[in-house]
């Protein structure tokens, strides 16, 4: 889908962008001007096409990245490759990442303008940045998203968007408060489950009674021993709001392991496979069943000879199973013989997949496909599941109050204390 060369078509343009970055003038101009690309959604007018001449500096979205490790590099590449984006800065707690990233970006634009930061607060303080993408470990997501909104930035935040149940509504509230476009970052929700999505929205399954999601494992408490610090990393900043632990390369590895070899495995930084892949699979299931705007009212814990699994009960009668024995991923039980009226499937806006959807919405102020609220609702399933498995019991969830019903211990797990001085 990427239709751009990714290269500036005119060096003079790049220079003028850099000039415009000195203050809020360019940004205010962009907001006030009603850029040419602002217009009809979902469709690609000549002015919105990536292969058109590069938009004028004042029409580009000025972006920066926070947390540029494995996933961040991929996200960064997608934004950097767009000619309607000017990528000007990045922040990472690893010096090597900062250096490598700056070299890449400067090489891309053939200049030396990319600024690097070790502290996100300095980056967010810049008035000239319109939007940031966030790909830090999950324990930083809520603080960064909320602070970015407070700074008037739009945000593309990698999945899983939240680490705790309480973070979600606070992130949504911050986005709505300041009218920010905040997109979550699961491209798979739209792209991986089309085989189920299309017939489901066409009404071919009839009323969907249940859908199964196979995903895991649960996160584990990290108790890895101390290692010598063999990388240039700001360890206190990497830990941030998470509890203190000694440096260990596996503790902070950004590899995709969910089995003990990366931060994705550990409960202080992640919800484990439940959130890491659950953000995709639960997201796919809720999209297929058109319950992205809802949260379940109950999670039923099953433990018998067949194994342990969950049933999430939705207010509209749908059940989402988790790891139900002998069930495939996204296996649907519909209503045989029933055909429902078809509904149009929501698609990405703009061009260029989920990244393009975000950029389009930054320009038009529309709601992105994985609006933060939908990302949050998806993560709620994973968090409720983690808590039910940990407590080994069924739970009732009051979505309006964001509390468990009559379960003191479960309610104590809705959030967690943040290490000083961090706070939402």
């Amino acid at each position: 889908m990427n239709r751009t060369s990714g290269k500036p078509t005119c060096k003079a343009n790049v220079a003028s962008v850099a000039d415009g970055h000195r203050g809020a003038t360019r940004r205010q101009f962009l907001k006030a001007a009603g850029a040419a690309a602002i217009g009809a959604p979902l469709i690609i007018t000549s002015s919105a096409l990536g292969n058109a001449d590069r938009p004028a500096a004042s029409d580009r979205i000025v972006m920066a990245g926070i947390g540029i490790g494995n996933q961040g590099r991929g996200d960064q590449g997608a934004f950097l490759g767009r000619n309607d984006v000017q990528y000007v800065a990045m922040c990472d707690v690893r010096d090597a990442n900062r250096k490598q990233c700056k070299a890449n970006i400067d090489n891309h634009y053939q200049n030396k303008d990319c600024k690097t930061y070790g502290d996100f607060r300095e980056l967010l303080a810049r008035d000239d940045i319109d939007a940031v993408h966030i790909a830090t470990p999950d324990h930083w997501h809520a603080i960064l998203v909320i602070e970015a909104c407070r700074s008037g930035k739009d945000v593309y935040c990698q999945k899983p968007e939240t680490l705790t149940l309480r973070e979600g509504p606070l992130m949504v509230a911050a986005a709505r408060r300041y009218g920010r476009v905040v997109s979550g970052g699961s491209q798979r929700v739209m792209e991986d489950y089309r085989g189920m999505l299309e017939p489901a929205w066409a009404g071919e399954f009839g009323t969907i009674k249940s859908i199964n999601v196979n995903v895991g494992p649960l996160p584990q408490l990290c108790n890895l021993p101390a290692e010598d610090m063999n990388e240039d990393i700001d360890w206190d900043m990497w830990l941030g709001p998470a509890s203190w632990g000694p440096y260990n390369s596996k503790r902070c590895s950004g590899s995709y392991s969910i089995n003990g070899a990366s931060w994705r495995s550990f409960s202080d930084y992640s919800g484990g496979g439940m959130t890491d892949w659950g953000a995709h699979h639960f997201g796919g299931a809720t999209f297929v069943c058109d319950v992205r705007e809802l949260q379940p009212t109950e999670v039923v814990y099953n433990d018998n000879a067949q194994g342990k699994w969950l049933d999430y009960i939705y207010p509209n009668g749908l059940t989402i199973h988790h790891n139900k024995p002998n069930s495939g991923n996204l296996q649907i039980v519909g209503t045989p013989g029933e055909k429902l009226a078809p509904k149009p499937i929501p698609e990405y806006k703009g061009w260029g997949g989920i990244y393009g959807d975000f950029i389009h919405c930054v320009k038009t102020r529309e709601t992105p496909f994985r609006d933060i609220e939908r990302g949050v609702n998806t993560c709620v399933l994973a968090h409720l599941g983690n808590i039910a498995y940990q407590l080994r019991r069924s739970l009732k969830w009051d979505a309006a109050a964001q509390q468990f019903v009559d379960d003191e211990e479960a309610n104590r797990m809705v959030d967690r204390g943040r290490r000083e001085p961090w706070q939402l």
Partner: protein, 457 residues
């Protein structure tokens, strides 16, 4: 401090005096929203648009918002039209229809899309016209609108139209039917698979690949035969295979295809052998293997070719047997290369299983060409051992280039490169010294630096 708090609480108390709820509140809200719609700051405007989408329900309110359209600049106008579409109140339709005459492409396109939400059957003519005669953006907008319109009778009209329209419109209408998953109109789509226009045929086959059912398998085969050999035929075969996949049971899938083949003249069935390969499955292996090893030499090649198109490695042993027993060098070559190809398929096997197959192939390879094929295909087994298998060939000039390419491809896989960084750095250094291929050198250097590389599409 205390006095300030008290005064603020008093202010709050004053504001707490109840207001007249209902109509006044609604008109206040409409006034608030309308004021924002012309705000020069798009983020303030967006706040108003958000409420247009969701609040102040009622036809009068909708008309109040729509009445602002002529007062706005093009950008704000297009955004308001979109919001009115999302609002879904047909009271905005007359105002939106007027905007189809705008001189601005964005505005016209937004109006077309909005008709998908608030239009009626009487707007069909304008949408059909826009599908082919307007700008690219408007064509796309009309397609979206036709896909989204909720009128249940629409698909019948579109299907009927698709039979008489010109080729360009015909194709677009079939795309709309597919996007709407109009499974009740499959006959119209099937008819189009043998259309005189190649573009229409391809669109129809794609549509069936998207929404066709196994019941339509036999009806799709004439379309495969009608498709020109090459890209169109490949595409047609892929779509039939997609429909076959909707039968979960492998044996039943094979039986369904064999049954469908029975409806085709025997003389044309061999033309469909590659299709059988794409579908795969145990039952079909035997069906094709009989042809590949049969008495008719002209049919043997077709059979081997089909086995080489298998979607997984289940035809590998059959192909190796044919290659091993072949007396004819050409048959041997064809069967062995097909064997290597299926062994390398990235199917449900894990990388170790794929690697074991490549080791087996390397042992069985007799010629330089066969060994090069194995070295090349080893890149699909993402395992550090694959690199170790191929590395010694860097020292042999006839295999060196293939080995360089495979090693760089394997290095692209971060999950095997990172845990074995020192070893990969060393072998990539060798590649950099040995190859003249600039892209390989650039990639090798990037991987050594821990960077990735974006494959050109």
């Amino acid at each position: 401090m205390f006095r300030r708090s008290v005064s603020f609480l008093m202010l709050l108390a004053l504001c707490a005096i109840p207001r007249i709820a209902g109509a006044d509140a609604s008109s206040d809200l409409v006034e608030q929203i309308v004021k924002l719609l012309s705000n020069p700051d798009r983020e303030f405007r967006a706040a108003g648009l958000e409420k247009v989408r969701t609040s102040a329900k009622g036809a009068a309110q909708t008309q109040a918002f729509a009445a602002q359209l002529p007062k706005l600049d093009d950008s704000a106008r297009a955004a308001l039209i979109t919001a009115l579409g999302d609002r879904g109140d047909a009271a905005a339709r007359p105002a939106v229809l007027e905007q189809l005459g705008s001189t601005n492409e964005d505005v016209r396109a937004a109006a077309l899309v909005a008709l998908g939400e608030i239009g009626s059957a009487s707007d069909l003519a304008v949408l059909l016209k826009s599908l082919t005669s307007a700008s690219g953006a408007e064509q796309q907008a009309a397609r979206i609108a036709l896909t989204r319109m909720r009128d249940a009778t629409l698909v019948k009209t579109i299907a009927a139209e698709s039979k008489s329209a010109g080729p360009q419109l015909r194709g677009k209408l079939i795309e709309v039917l597919a996007a709407r998953r109009a499974t009740g109109e499959l006959d119209a789509i099937i008819a189009a698979t043998t259309d005189s226009d190649g573009g229409v045929r391809t669109i129809a086959m794609n549509a069936l690949g998207q929404i066709g059912k196994p019941d339509q398998l036999a009806a799709m085969l004439p379309g495969v035969l009608k498709a020109e050999k090459g890209r169109e035929r490949d595409n047609a075969e892929r779509n039939v295979a997609e429909v076959c996949k909707r039968i979960d049971n492998e044996d039943q899938r094979g039986a369904a295809l064999i049954s469908a083949l029975g409806t085709i003249d025997a003389g044309q069935r061999d033309e469909l052998m590659p299709l059988i390969g794409r579908v795969g499955g145990r039952r079909l292996i035997k069906f094709v293997a009989d042809i590949a090893t049969g008495d008719d030499a002209s049919r043997r090649s077709v059979g081997i070719d089909a086995l080489g198109k298998w979607p997984d490695a289940s035809s590998a042993d059959t192909l190796l047997e044919i290659a091993s027993k072949a007396k004819d060098a050409a048959v041997r070559r064809q069967a062995f290369l097909a064997f290597v190809k299926v062994c390398a398929n990235r199917d449900d096997r894990n990388d170790q299983q794929r690697l074991e197959r490549m080791k087996q192939a390397l042992k069985e390879a007799r010629t330089t060409e066969e060994k090069i094929a194995v070295i090349n295909r080893t890149r699909t087994a993402y395992d550090v051992e694959s690199m170790r298998l191929v590395r010694p060939f860097l020292d042999q000039p006839e295999y060196c280039q293939a080995a360089c390419e495979t090693i760089v491809e394997l290095a692209h896989q971060r999950q095997i490169r990172d845990p074995n960084k020192a070893e990969f750095d060393s072998v990539l250094d060798q590649v950099i010294k040995l190859t003249d291929n600039k892209e390989l050198i650039e990639r090798a250097n990037r991987y050594k630096r821990g960077e990735t590389w974006e494959r050109k599409r």
